[in-house]
């Protein structure tokens, strides 16, 4: 019997619809709007390059991008170091399955509250008269409250690391759990010491997990504006914040142009990571 030719199209239709409605159309809209004109109160359908020209010509844009990239780089290194260590501990040192699951769930507990609440909860801890400063001054470790703790790059990075380390732990842990334990025995059998097992067997086999975690963390940090605004107290800028400011001034086309540039930058970064590591093995 000849199968009806429209059946396959029907089968892909739901996914195609979801992708179209929630991904392709919004991005196309942003792309279109980024070429529109605007004045103080209106956006005017048009085709102008002024939005891009202003953005790319401004030294502020470059500085903001560099600052955001700096955040991304620092947060990436920190979450990778912490995430890898925790995942390693969970995967190779926690022997019983029950404890492994329990510890893993404990890692996810902070995610039961919203981003904003988790960020705000740092404020009474890190503030000038916060818990940490009171404790440090009280213990005589410092004479004066530390100023850099809150409303600083330090606070921004700290909050990012707190928010996003789990995104590193989960894929790396997943990679590690797939490593055949006899490979580690085989490495010891071949005379490897603990460090060599880590660098010659575990890390190479975790690369896909590391890549996936890195993609999560880097894209999240690159697009963030809430964390930067809250934790820097408005003293630092990020690309997301720049867009958010443009939107609050009703400069939608300018924000859209910035979004397009950010999208291109992030896609290039993700593309570079996928060139280095083949993540398909993990999916």
């Amino acid at each position: 019997m000849q199968s009806k030719s429209y059946i396959p199209y029907l089968q892909v239709a739901p996914l195609a619809f979801v992708f179209g409605a929630f991904l392709v159309i919004p991005i196309l809209t942003i792309l279109v709007v980024s070429f529109w004109d605007y004045d103080f109160a209106r956006i005017i359908p048009d085709f102008v390059l002024t939005n891009y020209r202003e953005l790319l010509g401004s030294p502020v844009t470059l500085r903001t991008y560099l600052n955001t990239l700096r955040y991304a780089a620092i947060v990436w290194v920190a979450t990778l170091a912490i995430g890898f260590t925790i995942a390693y501990f969970l995967a190779f040192h926690v022997r019983s399955d029950t404890w492994q699951t329990a510890c893993f769930l404990i890692c996810t507990v902070p995610f039961l509250t919203s981003n904003i609440i988790r960020m705000i909860s740092w404020i009474p801890f890190l503030g000038r008269n916060g818990l940490l400063n009171s404790a440090l001054v009280g213990a005589g470790i410092v004479d004066q409250p530390l100023e850099f703790l809150l409303f600083s790059d330090f606070a921004v990075v700290l909050a990012f690391v707190h928010l996003y380390t789990l995104f590193m732990i989960v894929p790396i842990f997943n990679s590690m759990m797939r490593i055949d334990r006899s490979l580690i025995e085989a490495a010891y059998d071949a005379g490897a010491n603990g460090l060599q097992v880590l660098t010659s067997v575990i890390v190479p086999l975790c690369k896909p997990g590391i890549a996936i975690g890195s993609i999560f963390v880097v894209t999240l940090v690159m697009g963030d504006f809430v964390t930067v605004r809250f934790m820097s107290g408005g003293q630092s800028a990020s690309v997301g914040l720049m867009m958010s400011n443009a939107i609050s001034l009703l400069q939608y086309p300018a924000a859209a142009a910035n979004a397009v540039i950010l999208l291109v930058v992030v896609l290039l970064m993700v593309g570079a990571m996928m060139r280095i590591v083949d993540i398909r093995k993990e999916l």
Partner: protein, 341 residues
């Protein structure tokens, strides 16, 4: 004075919590021996191998290689090398780097370790696959790479954990020959864990039959087959009938009679035997297996209620029997082997 490659287990015990996996076994494996640890799953054969390899702590007793107690040495410093059941090849390294792994760990320069690895690849006839990843190889090829990787360390004993179990029957027979040839060529001991009595008989100079953490018998394949020490060995090795028979001095004793030494005869002939009914007939090519359940009232109690006679094909078809036929089974007194337990 022990030879450099001699392995000795002295009252070696392995405890997991309160369970005893290996129960104070003692065994000497002379250098250059092909030794098979044979037994059903859970008999402690793998734990024994892993203790020799150093991947499992010894709870009590000593393991000696040559004159040195190696209990507390790390795996790589024992002079043994292990080949894992699933080969455990590093999936991210190509064949030559897999083989060269131990040299890399020692810090041997790249050119030199690759040259050495290439020699080993040639030994196992895999030189054309140096640049392949393990995932691109068949099971048999992966095994050769695993062999090369284990042998590059120059071990005085190679430990193989069920090396043939992942292969299909044809390949298994071929690899079996190759393992034996390689062992003879290298002149080192191979200690090979298997649950297949056929594999053990084909390969081993020394068959060690294990059951419940103990050694039931350690002897040459022929000795194990012809004079099994216990009923367990006779049953596990196959081709034996275990019969409880009257002993010469009165009382009862357990004897084993090889299936191919027993015969179907007219009632009353032969030196010992009983009458029974044919319960099973299996044509196996060169022999026909006939299962006979003894009639009531005989002096013999047959293990599991069925006595197996392996009849030569020609003989069987000269005087065939069918299910339900009444027959007599007999054997010569010289073919009786008395079991210790």
């Amino acid at each position: 004075m022990a030879d450099k490659g001699d392995i000795e287990l002295a009252a070696v015990l392995k405890r997991y919590g309160s369970a005893i996996a290996v129960d104070s076994i003692s065994l000497k494996i002379p250098a250059g021996t092909y030794c098979c640890l044979l037994g059903p799953s859970g008999c402690g054969k793998s734990s024994t191998l892993r203790m020799i390899a150093g991947h499992e702590d010894v709870s009590d007793g000593d393991i000696l290689l040559g004159n040195e107690v190696i209990n507390d040495l790390p795996p790589a410093r024992r002079g043994t090398a292990m080949m894992f059941q699933n080969y455990a090849l590093f999936p991210h390294l190509d064949c030559i780097d897999n083989v060269a792994f131990s040299l890399k760990m020692k810090g041997v320069a790249k050119a030199e370790r690759r040259a050495r690895a290439m020699e080993l690849l040639r030994l196992v006839d895999m030189q054309d696959y140096a640049a392949r990843l393990p995932a691109q190889l068949s099971g048999g090829q992966q095994q050769r790479i695993a062999l090369a990787r284990a042998l590059i360390t120059g071990p005085s004993a190679l430990l193989l954990d069920e090396p043939l179990s992942a292969l299909d029957p044809f390949l298994r027979a071929r690899m079996r020959e190759e393992l034996k040839r390689l062992q003879k060529e290298l002149g080192i001991s191979f200690i090979h864990v298997t649950h297949s009595q056929e594999e053990a008989m084909a390969l081993a100079d020394l068959v060690v039959v294990m059951n419940r953490g103990r050694i039931e018998q350690a002897a040459s394949a022929r000795a194990v087959f012809n004079t099994p020490r216990t009923a367990f060995v006779a049953r596990f090795i196959g081709g034996h009938n275990i019969v409880e028979a009257p002993a010469d001095g009165g009382g009862r004793q357990r004897i084993s009679v090889r299936a191919d030494r027993a015969a179907l005869t007219a009632p009353g002939s032969g030196e010992a035997g009983f009458g029974g009914t044919v319960r099973a007939v299996e044509y196996l090519g060169s022999v026909v297996h006939v299962g006979i359940s003894p009639n009531g009232g005989t002096d013999f109690a047959v293990d599991q209620g069925e006595f197996l006679v392996a009849v030569n094909e020609n003989k069987f078809f000269a005087a065939p029997v069918a299910l339900g036929d009444a027959v007599s089974v007999s054997w010569k007194l010289e073919d009786i082997h008395v079991l210790e337990a």
